[in-house]
Amino acid sequence: MTDQLVAAPMLVVLTTIVALLGLRRWPRVQRSASVGGGLAYALAVGAVAWSVVLAPDAPGAAAYQVGGWVAPFGVTLVVDALSAFMLAIAAAVGLSAAVFSVLYVDRANQRVFYHVLFHCLLLGVTGAFLTGDLFNLFVWFEVMLLASYVFVAFYGGPEHTAAGFRYLVLNVVGSALLLLSVGGLYAVTGTLNMADVSRRMAAPGAYGVDPAPAVGLAALALVTFGLKAGLVPFQFWVPGAYRSAPLPVTAMLAGVTKKVGMYAIVRVYFTVFGGATVGPSIAGVAGSSPLSFLAPVLLAMGIASILVGGVGAVVRDTIEETLAYSSVAQIGFVAVPVGLAAAAPPGSLRRLGLAAALVYALHHALAKPLLFLATAAIRSATGTNRLADLGGLGGRAPVLSACFFLASLSLVGIPPLTGFFGKFLVFDAAARRFATAPGPLGAIVLIALLAGAVLTILYTTRIWTASFWGERTPAVEDAGVDPRQTAVLAALALAIVGVGIWFDPVFEFAGAAADAALDREGYVDLVAPTGGEDA
């Protein structure tokens, strides 16, 4: 008997989608069903995380063979600490964005499949976090993308259509590359199951596999994952798409779907290719595994993201554009520790790098959606997001401003907020790297991180002084803030403070997730991709 709970988050979203489609005629019921579905999803994720990872007698990981087909022939769903951590992020953002959507998006727009598509987005994210199969990962990426295409073009104006079209073309190319990569891996290893690929790559001689093409194929996949994550040089779709999509969906895109890209990098490189060694070394790279190739590339991408995003954010003239560039920079802060982990030899530094990336991802997934939702609240109160038209919001809407202030502080990294621990761990990993291997690379990483931190202070201060302090503009004077929207913001703000104050269990969870990402043998044993031969 398999533990049915593993598939529960996915089944909850699927059922919600069907229910929402059936309830189209009754918009009021549909809206409550959407919120109810979000709540049920959060409960399901909580139950999975507790019973599989967090409970004292939890097994730590569980595999689920869909349709009863044993691995590697069927599709396997795997929950380990890493998946559970990411699912928890998705649940927190998904629930708050679902509630906020009902309050923010106007009623007529909510009727045109808005809620259905929102849950499709959530379904794609959930599937990507759960799946243990490379082709299935591609499928869930597509599910996620199809929903987000519609959202980017949702309002149907010329600029939305242009942004939607750009986003569509770019992601179709990205998907084609991922498909090529997955197809190539199948040709090389003869299997698509992640655990099976991992097993065969680690012992290429025993299975008659030539691991050399894996580096190039993994690089193709890295392009697509980087595109999803919005890392430089694939960041250019981010501002347009974030500006066009409805703001609660933007919160979802920034908070969760970007993290899917980072999750996929960690899962594929550390778990699937973690044990592979490629015969001849690659030009200009020390070491001879896909990981040693990943390290310089991801570090360069992360550093470039921090700088490009930070500099871009300083000069924008609306709040959401500033935040969109800021999220390019912030995802750089997630990518850099992953790059450091890839560069480090197996051991505590590698674990620290991954844990830092996960904590930072959690921080960004709480703070950035809060900021985007606060932006949405400002827009529905004042009708504008242009910094020039705002001013003096602090006195007009104190609770809303306090939430925005808190999230900004977390972004800057002030203790005891979650953002402080995220930044602290990232700097810790970089400093340790510099201490163990002094050299120009470590110094560049540290300097870039510092520059990124300074830029963060600059652009958050700029938004704050321009829109919350100063003279009240006419738009702000007439503003009517919806207290229900503020309540959602306050809940997220409390989460940021709460995670910061009770950080220890969160850090243990992140550490367990990092261990799960690195525990390649454990993952293979769990899935047991032997086709039932010697189970």
């Binding site: 008997m1 398999t2 049915q4 598939a7 089944l11 699927l14 059922t15 989608i17 069907v18 489609l21 059936g22 689920y64 063979q65 869909v66 349709g67 009863g68």
Partner: protein
């Protein structure tokens, strides 16, 4: 054109149904059967026009002024799609009631049936039927909405 449609449409529909029914063991299945069914409808649309299905076959009145989304056949197509999705998900969830993983399938061979002698009833047919309804519903909605532009 109309003569071709008159001859081909029944053949295509029968072929589609046979593909749907054999799908779990032989080439075929819900998706390809749904596409073929859509092709039959497309042929009717091309030969007779968009309103023929409502006015000519079902004998309903078509109000000329209304948008394509209020067209009764389009509403029906969308309902087919939702029904299909519900069937497919429910057939997957059904396995949970028997303590099997999501989407698990089984089959029963029914013996001593006149003419056929024995028929294999597979639970996968329910899922296939769901896929069939989804494909027919979605493709026909797209076809009639885009066709009306």
């Amino acid at each position: 054109m109309k003569t071709t449609a008159r001859i081909m449409v029944p053949i295509i529909l029968v072929l589609a149904i046979s593909l749907l029914l054999q799908g779990h063991n032989l080439p075929g299945g819900g998706f390809i059967a749904g596409v073929l069914t859509t092709v039959a409808f497309a042929l009717v649309y091309v030969a007779y026009g968009l309103d023929y299905l409502d006015a000519g076959v079902l004998g309903r009145d078509v109000e000329p002024g209304r948008g394509i989304f209020e067209h009764r056949s389009v509403t029906a197509f969308r309902r087919t799609f939702i029904l299909g999705l519900a069937i497919a998900v429910a057939s997957g969830l059904g396995a949970l009631a028997f303590d099997e993983p999501f989407l698990s399938q089984t089959f029963v061979i029914v013996e001593s049936i006149p003419i056929y002698h024995e028929i294999e009833v597979a639970s996968a047919l329910a899922f296939d039927l769901g896929v069939y309804c989804v494909v027919v519903g979605v493709l026909l909605t797209i076809l009639s909405v885009v066709g009306a532009e």
